[in-house]
């Protein structure tokens, strides 16, 4: 039973995800001509939020109180199960791409329920929008999964990663390229980045994710913020692991794991910086234009599956 890998992955993702958000904010600030608050600012924010007073809005129930816990737990499970650092792990039976996607969706669902539980207009609005987007992202995610799993004959993340490690040329196949674009759009939508959702908006009417968490304060808010940073890291990590699994350890020796952690940090940072740069050039789409974007990415996913069959 190799439990070192999942634990190491959880530690890397939990510790590194606020730094990733910090790097992305810093990149954005620099491109806007600002100085930026520094890479460690999200960690400072979290430290402060954890010290603050927890608040229970009147009329909310356990659903509201438990949602941050479950949300954080789902991201931790996804972080532990995915082969970010090594392809062998004790959690191999749940390292199925469908299962990981479903676990992450569970987190979104719990947060949406918490938004509805407050009974405020904004909570309901955020929940409704988030769920609509989630429903439409699902086909794209699964279609890209499908395309990637066909050549391996398995939807197990470890198996897909191992196959790519053995045959790196596959990364440049048409199937892979089509799938990466489809998956990238799905990841952007799932993590609530521009152009689907603006993570730094102050305008309630344009909010999706933010609207659901308007009632959270103190440690609860810290958990939600932390979990959404981890969610971003996990999704970017999945993207990196599926399409560029280089550096991932095949054995669970400490040195190999350390090297893999460095490679993982590098890959995710590169992806995060790319996303942050792209966000500077993009405006938020109207909510009802988002389905068009997602339909486009779905089509790419379908093409990827078709290519995997007809070009094989």
């Amino acid at each position: 039973m190799n439990v070192v890998t999942p634990v190491a992955q959880v530690l890397v993702v939990a510790g590194g995800s606020p730094l990733l958000v910090g790097v992305m904010r810093q990149v954005r600030a620099r491109l806007e001509g600002r100085a930026g608050p520094g890479v460690g600012q999200p960690w400072r924010d979290l430290r402060k939020l954890l010290r603050k007073e927890p608040i229970t809005p009147r009329g909310t129930s356990e659903v509201f109180r438990l949602a941050p816990l479950v949300l954080a737990a789902t991201t931790l499970v996804a972080a532990a199960a995915s082969p970010f650092l090594a392809t062998t792990s004790a959690l191999d039976p749940i390292a199925d791409l469908f299962a990981v996607v479903a676990v992450l969706t569970l987190g979104a669902v719990v947060l949406a329920l918490a938004g509805l539980d407050t009974g405020t207009a904004f909570g309901g609005m955020g929940a409704s929008r988030e769920m609509t987007i989630t429903a439409l992202v699902e086909p794209t995610l699964l279609m890209a999964t499908f395309a990637l799993s066909v050549r391996v004959g398995s939807t197990n993340l470890g198996a897909i990663t191992t196959a790519t490690l053995h045959d790196p040329g596959r990364v440049l196949s048409p199937v892979s390229l089509l799938a990466v674009v489809a998956l990238a759009v799905a990841v952007i939508a799932e993590t609530g980045r521009l152009p689907v959702d603006n993570p730094s908006t102050h305008l309630e009417l344009t909010m999706v994710h933010e609207a659901m968490i308007l009632e959270y304060a103190g440690p609860d808010l810290a958990l939600v913020e932390w979990a959404s940073a981890m969610r971003l890291t996990v999704f970017l990590g999945l993207l990196a692991t599926l399409f560029a699994p280089f550096g991932i350890a095949v054995t669970a020796s400490p040195s190999a794991l350390a090297l893999a952690a460095a490679a993982f940090a590098l890959k995710v940072t590169v992806l995060g910086v790319a996303l942050a740069v792209a966000e500077v050039f993009l405006a938020k789409l109207r909510l009802f234009r988002v389905p068009e974007l997602l339909a486009g990415s779905f089509l790419l996913g379908l093409l990827a599956v078709a290519a995997s069959f007809f070009l094989a």
């Binding site: 100085a35 608050p37 430290r47 010290r51 608040i55």
Partner: protein, 161 residues
């Protein structure tokens, strides 16, 4: 997109170099925040002069965000209230409720002369009083309107950076 990229390249950094940190110890509340202050702005009856200056303080030139201050959308997420304007009758209750919605430790910053002592509106029929008459004010920024530098300096006094 290409044009935007060229503009970004040409403009470069517009943030002015950070002036020296204002001297003086942090208040106990500010010390507990540890360099991260989320701010909710409340307009209690302002003429919007102060708002323009706040906007400018958080703009690229003064970039108050680099000191760890950030504007947020909900008082639940906030540590500090940035209150502008003399408190009008219609805004007394909302202002108190906003303060109540903020989780502790929390503090209030009164921005502008109106917020400090009602300014030219002192004694007007619709005005209840200054922000200090309604909430415990920790920091006040004088000026009508205060300069972005003054606002930024006051915020640095809370973030300690």
């Amino acid at each position: 997109m290409w044009r935007l990229w060229r503009k970004i390249r040409k403009t470069g950094r517009v943030a002015e170099p950070a002036p020296a940190r204002p001297a003086g110890p942090l208040t106990s509340v500010a010390a507990r925040l540890g360099g991260s202050v989320q701010i909710r702005h409340v307009d209690a009856g302002s003429c919007n002069g102060c708002e323009v200056e706040i906007g400018s303080a958080f703009g690229p030139v003064h970039d108050a965000e680099r000191y760890g201050a950030r504007l947020v959308a909900s008082p639940r997420h906030a540590d500090a209230l940035l209150v502008t304007g003399a408190v009008t009758r219609n805004m007394v209750e909302p202002l108190r409720r906003t303060y109540d919605a903020v989780p502790g430790p929390k503090l209030v910053v009164a921005v502008g002369d109106c917020a400090r002592d009602c300014g030219v509106f002192k004694g007007a029929y619709g005005v209840v009083g200054s922000v200090g008459d309604v909430l415990p004010v920790e920091v006040s920024v004088p000026g009508c309107p205060p300069t972005p530098e003054a606002i930024t300096a006051a915020l640095r006094g809370i973030t300690g950076r």
